[in-house]
């Protein structure tokens, strides 16, 4: 359905590219997209009220947000009707973001601050030591 729709959109404005004819999406598309974004906003709030445990809860929240973001990018930002190169830029940016998040979280995970008490202790000790060194060396 999606591929067919894309083909339709492209065909409609494929006749003359040299003059910079814009790819125009049908008006209906914008309102359907807007309505689905509203529904997904309700879903976002609904998911948080499900009472899921912390980790599944944040993953669910991010997934719903990702679906919303994709809809905004594909339709409102016209990626569906544009040169694919812009999509490549966006997707590669997201790839590097995920790499950044993934590697940093992996690194934190391997340092053994699994529980909050331990991490709190670490940071309290860290700030205490920092305060001591600052006391020892006044400006």
């Amino acid at each position: 359905m999606f591929a067919k729709f894309r083909k339709e959109v492209l065909q409609r404005s494929a006749d003359d590219h040299s003059s910079g004819e814009p790819h125009v999406l049908p008006l209906k598309v914008y309102f359907i997209v807007f309505a689905s974004l509203m529904v997904l906003t309700v879903v976002t709030v609904g998911v948080s009220l499900l009472g899921l445990p912390p980790v599944p809860s944040i993953i669910a929240a991010i997934l719903v947000a990702a679906v919303k973001a994709t809809i905004v990018a594909v339709f409102f930002m016209h990626l569906i009707a544009e040169d694919k190169f812009y999509s490549v830029i966006l997707v590669s940016t997201v790839f590097f973001m995920l790499l950044f998040f993934g590697l940093t979280l992996l690194d934190m995970d391997s340092r053994g601050f699994k529980n909050p008490e331990e991490s709190l202790e670490y940071w309290q000790q860290f700030s205490h030591e920092k305060a001591l060194t600052e006391e020892a060396a006044p400006e």
């Binding site: 814009p22 912390p54 947000a65 997201v94 998040f101």
Partner: protein
């Protein structure tokens, strides 16, 4: 709306810069630059989001308690406001593409009004927090919360503040575009500037889509 005749009667030479071969190339170059800028913006914000994830990893209980001081209803209201402004922005771009200048101008001003509504809601949220003594970082004088509430609210102010700054810049650019549009500068040949402002505005919306559940709906 028929794309074969949309550009008839518009002198392309008026808008074509001398270093481009045709409008298609000029428009594509402009949009490529905008997309690269948006990619850079996403990477910039990913640093702030990473700070959020790290802090939440260290202080999950702080986040659970502290987020109750944010009103999720106001957050949801602002989500609806921004999504609606994204719709009006998209319609404005469509207005420029289809030579519908009235629709372009009207939708641009609607977008600007909604952006101001967003900031007004944000203003009430901020002042409410200041009244409770909830200030970022070492200025925190708010309620006792387990762990490091100053870290959570520091992140809250930096994330929403950076996003708010983008909204303010967006309003400035949008007003300029709206004034230009009223002079009839934009049409189906010369529309890439409106589109680029639209892309920027949608990105601001896109970032809020992630900020809303992460800050207001912690569970």
């Amino acid at each position: 709306m028929s794309s074969t005749s949309a550009n008839s009667g518009i002198d392309e030479k008026k808008y074509l810069a001398h270093h481009f071969q045709n409008m298609a190339q000029q428009n594509a170059s402009g949009k490529l630059g905008m997309w690269l800028f948006l990619g850079q913006e996403l990477l910039f914000f990913s640093g702030l989001f990473m700070a959020y994830f790290a802090a939440r990893y260290f202080y999950p209980e702080t986040f659970l308690d502290a987020h109750t001081y944010l009103d999720w209803k106001l957050g949801a209201l602002n989500t609806v406001v921004l999504l609606t402004s994204s719709l009006t922005m998209a319609l404005a771009v469509r207005g420029a593409q289809t030579n519908n200048n009235a629709s372009l101008v009207m939708n641009l001003w609607l977008t600007i009004i909604l952006a101001f509504v967003f900031l007004v809601v944000k203003y009430f949220e901020y002042t409410h927090k200041f009244d409770l003594g909830i200030l970022p970082g070492s200025f925190y004088a708010g309620p006792e919360i387990v762990g490091q509430p100053n870290v959570f609210f520091g992140l809250y102010f930096v994330l929403t503040g950076m996003h708010g700054l983008h909204v303010v810049i967006g309003i400035g650019v949008l007003i300029w575009v709206a004034l230009q549009a009223q002079k009839g500068v934009y049409n189906s040949v010369n529309h890439v500037f409106v589109e680029n402002v639209g892309l920027y505005w949608h990105l601001v919306d896109l970032i809020w889509i992630f900020l809303f559940p992460l800050l207001y709906l912690v569970k």
